[in-house]
Symmetry: C2
């Protein structure tokens, strides 16, 4: 069973397979990887726009559509791409065949529309690869135990690819997308933003959840759990797959694989949060619960909770919530005013959350202090602070977002990273 041939799972997103020309280009990329002596399995998304069209059909017929039928309908997009890429590969002389989720099968739970993979029967795929045939797998989909088609949620093809890489014991999972990697920060704000060559799963999760939309969060969690090495690459550039060291893109790996642990790997920001301040709450045990229970029951995601002393034995509670939920939060708290007994409810939508992330923080001190000092030098007032083992986040007024991100990028030495 064991062999020394590297086994690579290559995943191509919707923009990478948007039309027949791009599908041909993808086939060339796969051909190069095969030519480099690898066993290759390919995972594809739907051609961009196709899934949206199918979702619109469902929503138009019935906004409360049956998720089982939705899954059966939208899963066809990936089925089409997998067949077309198989034909494109065959046309270039590469043996290939398409696999739908049910053919493998990829077994999921029955949470249709956002299913989770339970099991992948990889025997047939391994047989396929060992016979020199490239399996081209429809991403995003599986079947539940009743053989009904299920899908993994938007961006789910990333998760398909990582799960397949784990199941196939692949050397690496290459995610080809429309960006060429993960950057130290948003290049639209900071021209000197640099591609991160290697990033730890934990860092990626912190960066993804605060804005870097390169990989589906769940796929990173799965990669971390299964220890799958993920390479993020641009499908619009040419790579030489025979030399991993020279690969462009960003490698998402275990912390152990990262030799030089930077204090700060990246800086993320999010304009999607609003600040809520509940002032003048009598300071008694259980007060936090009286505020957050109604929000939890309404499935509102509360972030960055800070409690501070007020005056006269009262306390102030500050936290952030998604902007889209702010109105509901205000209503819920006003309704609970008799229980919470607060004196004042303040909200602010004109804020930005800025986070510096790096596993190096664990062994370096003073990372937070550099942040506060840098912002203070620009007279940027920090309204809320929250820290974790590998992240420091602050809330500041939204107008400072570019200034703050640029200043921090310089302050943490990210402008000078080796290229």
């Amino acid at each position: 069973m064991s062999c020394d041939i590297p086994r690579i799972v290559m995943k191509f997103g919707g923009t990478s397979v948007a039309d027949l020309d791009r599908i041909r280009k993808v086939a060339q990329t796969v051909k190069k990887q095969v030519g480099a002596g690898c066993e290759v399995a390919v995972v594809v998304s739907a051609m961009s726009g196709v899934t949206n069209q199918l979702v619109e059909y469902c929503q138009t017929l019935n906004p409360l559509y049956d998720p089982c039928e939705y899954d059966s309908i939208v899963a066809t997009g990936e089925q089409v791409t997998s067949g077309l890429l198989a034909i494109a590969l065959q046309t270039m002389g590469i043996k290939a065949r398409s696999w739908s989720g049910w053919q493998i099968p990829i077994i999921t739970d029955d949470a249709h529309g956002r299913a989770r993979i339970k099991q992948i029967e990889s025997a047939a795929l391994i047989e396929c690869m060992q016979a020199g045939v490239v399996p081209v797998i429809a991403g995003f989909q599986g079947i539940d135990e009743n053989k009904r088609i299920s899908t993994l949620g938007r961006g789910g093809s990333d998760t398909s690819a990582v799960a397949l890489a784990a199941s196939l014991n692949a050397t690496r999972c290459d995610i080809y997308t429309d960006v060429d990697g993960i950057y130290t920060t948003d290049p639209r704000i900071v021209k000197k933003a640099k591609r991160i060559k290697a990033i730890a799963y934990e860092e990626m999760l912190e960066l993804a959840s605060v804005g870097a939309k390169v990989l589906q969060t769940r796929s990173v969690e799965l990669a971390m759990k299964e220890q799958v090495r993920v390479q993020v690459l641009s499908s619009f550039e040419d790579h030489d797959p025979s030399r991993e060291g020279s690969l462009p893109g960003s490698l998402v790996v275990s912390e152990d694989e990262i030799v030089e642990k930077e204090q700060v790997t990246g800086i993320a920001y999010s304009l999607n949060e609003a600040k809520v301040v509940v002032k003048g709450i009598p300071d008694f045990p259980g007060v936090a619960s009286s505020i957050f229970r109604p929000l939890a029951e309404a499935n509102i995601n509360v972030d960055m909770i800070v409690q501070s002393s007020g005056t006269n034995q009262t306390t102030d509670m500050t936290f952030t919530v998604p902007k889209t939920d702010l109105l509901q939060v205000q209503q819920l708290l006003e309704q609970a005013k008799d229980t919470i007994k607060f004196s004042q409810l303040l909200t602010d939508e004109d804020v930005v959350k800025i986070s510096v992330v790096g596993i190096g923080m664990r062994s370096h001190t003073g990372v937070a202090n550099i942040m506060f000092k840098t912002l203070a030098e620009r007279s940027i007032n920090v309204q809320v602070i929250s820290t974790s083992e590998i992240k420091v986040s602050v809330i500041v007024a939204a107008e400072y977002v570019e200034l703050a991100v640029r200043a921090l990028h310089t302050a943490y030495g990210l402008d000078q990273m080796n290229d």
Copy 2:
């Protein structure tokens, strides 16, 4: 197992499900049938235009595409429609679920792109219907024994529907299409053309193969073999399904079910054939074979063979071939001139084949004579004649097509059929 509830298979073609509005209209038609107390299974085609788009993708990537991949790609069209119709039905309060070919499964041979159904496992569908859920089945598709998706060829959803009706022991298979039935002749030529209320399988086969493109020929053959009663209906008209007697459309059934057997049921014509005359062949045993073997080897479909005496112990051979094959036929015969030893090869593309069809011919004499007399009265010269048990076909000059068809329609009393 037995029950008195009528079980109807309803099939809707591509134009009937062309957009969401039409899918909603189809759902209403199904709802009426369910409301009439029937167990209903539905078979759908792809939304019109979808299959063409997918076929074009395949052909653009590679004109010699892998038919296995082609099948996997084009079968998605029906899968989408089945899901959408299920949602539309649910929205109207009718329990429904979609079924793809592999879910049932419908097992076919492995002749991808033109597969034949070998077996349908109908147990799950019957269970579904008996639970009060309408199965909405993706037509045109099945799986081969290796679980790869197969398709039945263009128009294959008709065959799916008839095969399912046989397997489900259905009372009737209703084919909803963009015409409201089968006509005594082409209504574009003869304004008085009448809808045929009941037509025998054999007649339908003769009419279909000479031009009436309402049902896929193979579906009629299968209906005849399995004795499935097929009703052709327009999906753009309203029907009252509770009264079969009042159904518009045309019923395709066994000869036994047809009480009044007309001498002539319908008149068909085809402008797609060319006439070939091979003159002055030495009349020896095996001469026919020397002409037709090379054509058979080239897969050319020869029709209406007539041999007549020439002069001086020679013979003339006249036959028709598809116009698209005429050039190749000329080349093949010229190449075989040394073997056949004919004196002259004549061809004529300006001809039309006109056929009168009717199971009543078996018990009525003089049907052919009416044809010859009618044509002679209009000074239309008959060039070739061929007859079968239920059909008389002639070749005449193409310019007479409308005149001849109209005259024959009147001569056989078809203008006066009861409505």
